[in-house]
């Protein structure tokens, strides 16, 4: 396309002048990131109470986090659960995403909608329904129950990310391999897998982040052995208000930001926005 604006010298912008939009966007991000910045800075305060601006600098609330057993125990549960969720989610989600995208199955769109449908259910409904259902069939309040519940809600993220990457890869590679006599397993292992690896990785990371932050489902399955970090933080906040929760939040944030940076490096964030 020849750019008309260049030929006629028109200003082709629409809406408001750029300067005012930039000003607005800066305000928007102050609103969006301000509360997070406040919490991170509070986690370094020397005072015994929540104070902003914080006074002095100390690591003592981080030390407190690692000394307070419920925090540490639940943090370990959260990390184990996140990893297990990502593995089970990938095991179930990757083959299904590949088959739906290019498997010549009937009603592919309907199946895709079904695989993504847990996204549209209120989490508190899923958690409540699963608690009684899993108790009735004998799983009860356990790590396995948590794992099942978290996998249900993370699966759509794995499916969507993997399907998105796979759709962008030409089928010629796989078809060529098939013509040259490779069987399904060989094609998957030597052709498909290397190309969709970034999608699998990103999807698993997303599943981990969804799991590690989840509260509306995890709190139904809370017990001494199965409390996740957000559940412990919530009950802590309901009884006391001190900077150790700020430290716990900051630790969780660091984990998430590192994960996000890795994804952005190998995959780009554009393709995995929740609305895409």
């Amino acid at each position: 396309m020849i750019s008309v604006s260049n030929r006629f010298g028109y200003n082709m912008r629409v809406g408001f002048p750029k300067f005012w939009m930039l000003f607005y966007v800066v305000l928007f991000f102050i609103f969006l990131l301000g509360p997070i910045f406040i919490v991170v800075s509070i986690s370094f305060t020397e005072t015994e109470f929540v104070a902003f601006p914080p006074k002095g600098f100390s690591w003592k609330w981080y030390e407190r986090f690692f000394e307070y057993e419920p925090f540490v125990d639940s943090f370990i549960v959260s990390v184990e659960l996140a990893i297990a969720t990502a593995l089970l989610g990938a095991g179930l989600g990757v083959p299904a995403a590949l088959a739906v995208t290019r498997g010549k199955v009937p009603y592919a769109n309907t199946i895709m909608t079904f695989l993504l449908s847990p996204l549209s259910m209120p989490l508190i409904v899923v958690g409540f329904a699963l608690l009684f259902y899993l108790s009735a069939i004998g799983f009860g309040v356990s790590f396995i129950s948590l794992l099942i519940a978290h996998t249900v809600i993370s699966l759509p993220y794995v499916v969507r990310t993997v399907a998105g990457v796979y759709r962008g890869i030409s089928p010629d590679y796989e078809e060529s391999a098939a013509v040259l006599g490779a069987n399904r397993i060989q094609i998957f292992w030597h052709v498909t897998l290397p190309m969709i690896k970034p999608g699998i990785f990103a999807g698993m990371l997303f599943a981990m982040l969804i799991s590690i932050d989840n509260l509306p489902i995890s709190f139904f399955f809370g017990s001494a052995d199965t409390n996740t970090l957000p559940v412990v933080m919530l009950s802590y906040l309901e009884h006391q208000f001190d900077p150790s929760v700020a430290a716990a939040s900051s630790i969780q944030l660091i984990v998430a930001v590192i994960g996000l940076f890795i994804v952005e490096r190998i995959y780009g964030l554009d393709a995995m926005t929740p609305a895409s």
Binding site: I124, V125, R184, L237, A246, A256
Partner: protein
């Protein structure tokens, strides 16, 4: 590819056997669909011996008792209100992201997504500090002489709405941006060349074409607002009650599971209604991955 090769590859039906879909679908049927159906049909099994009532009693209570009717209404009003605020606040950001951000777009998307991955507790904690009686906002307003004594921002509908908008507005921006990105720029250029001002072009061309994005964003944000309770629990202070918050309280305090089940089914009905709207919207747009 030559015809010969294409014929040879025609027998190839995907690298993964379609049967794999069955495994995953079975998992979702057993651990997602059946639990919800079970909750829908067998509310009675949750009855504790002390107060055994038929399920219909609870639905009647929800829809006839003015106190609970108010909560059902408040849930919907709050979700719609939060969604509309998200559209108004988020639209200019989406427009900027798509049209003006240039090489910064990756960075802006990163800034939008980063808060989504911080814990919801962290964000409500931040707002509690800002809104506290001796918090930053009150100090600032006192310093401006805009107020004489600290205002109680916390524990009211206002702080709950701000908290919810803060959590949900990135979803709206991303939904609108993904549709704005697909608009053919030549349409806007034509309008400008034919003499429309930049505002008129926006109102008559860009905005109508982006309505699909607003629709998708509306459904996503409405659904999320409809199901959230942590923000209301920590910022709302109990004045403003919604169905998810009541489910949480029925579960943790009153332990009336039958009533909680009835409420979660009402919430489910609202979500299914939204899902239906979403499917109609997708169908209208033509099939889109």
């Amino acid at each position: 590819m030559t015809d010969k090769v294409r014929r040879a590859s025609a027998g190839f039906s995907g690298v993964v056997s379609p049967w794999w879909i069955g495994v995953t679908a079975l998992f979702l049927v057993v651990f997602f669909v059946l639990p919800i159906i079970n909750n829908l049909l067998n509310t009675d099994q949750l009855a504790t011996l002390a107060k055994q009532r038929p399920a219909i009693f609870y639905y009647e209570k929800l829809f006839t008792d003015p106190y609970y009717l108010r909560i059902v209404a408040d849930t919907i009003i709050l979700s719609v209100g939060v969604t509309v605020i998200c559209i108004i606040i988020g639209y200019p950001v989406a427009l900027f992201l798509v049209r003006h951000s240039g090489k910064w777009s990756g960075f802006i998307i990163f800034l939008l997504i980063a808060p989504l991955l911080t814990s919801i507790i962290m964000r409500t904690f931040g707002w509690r500090v800002l809104f506290a009686r001796r918090g930053l906002l009150n100090d600032f307003l006192l310093w401006l002489d805009a107020i004489e004594k600290p205002i109680m921002f916390l524990n009211g509908p206002t702080s709950a709405v701000i908290g919810l908008v803060h959590v949900l507005v990135p979803f709206m921006v991303l939904s609108i941006a993904s549709v704005l990105r697909s608009i053919d720029l030549q349409l806007e250029e034509s309008a400008r060349i034919l003499g429309a001002s930049r505002f008129k072009t926006f109102l008559k061309v860009t905005f109508p074409l982006s309505l699909d994005g607003i629709g998708t964003g509306f459904i996503i944000v409405f659904l999320l607002a409809n199901g959230s309770f942590v923000t209301l629990l920590l910022l709302g202070g109990g004045d403003l009650k919604t169905l998810p918050l009541l489910i949480y309280q029925q579960f943790t305090i009153s332990r009336d599971f039958q009533f909680a089940a009835a409420m979660s089914n009402v919430l489910l009905a609202i979500a299914v209604g939204c899902l239906y709207l979403q499917l109609r919207l997708i169908k209208r747009k033509g099939v889109k991955g």
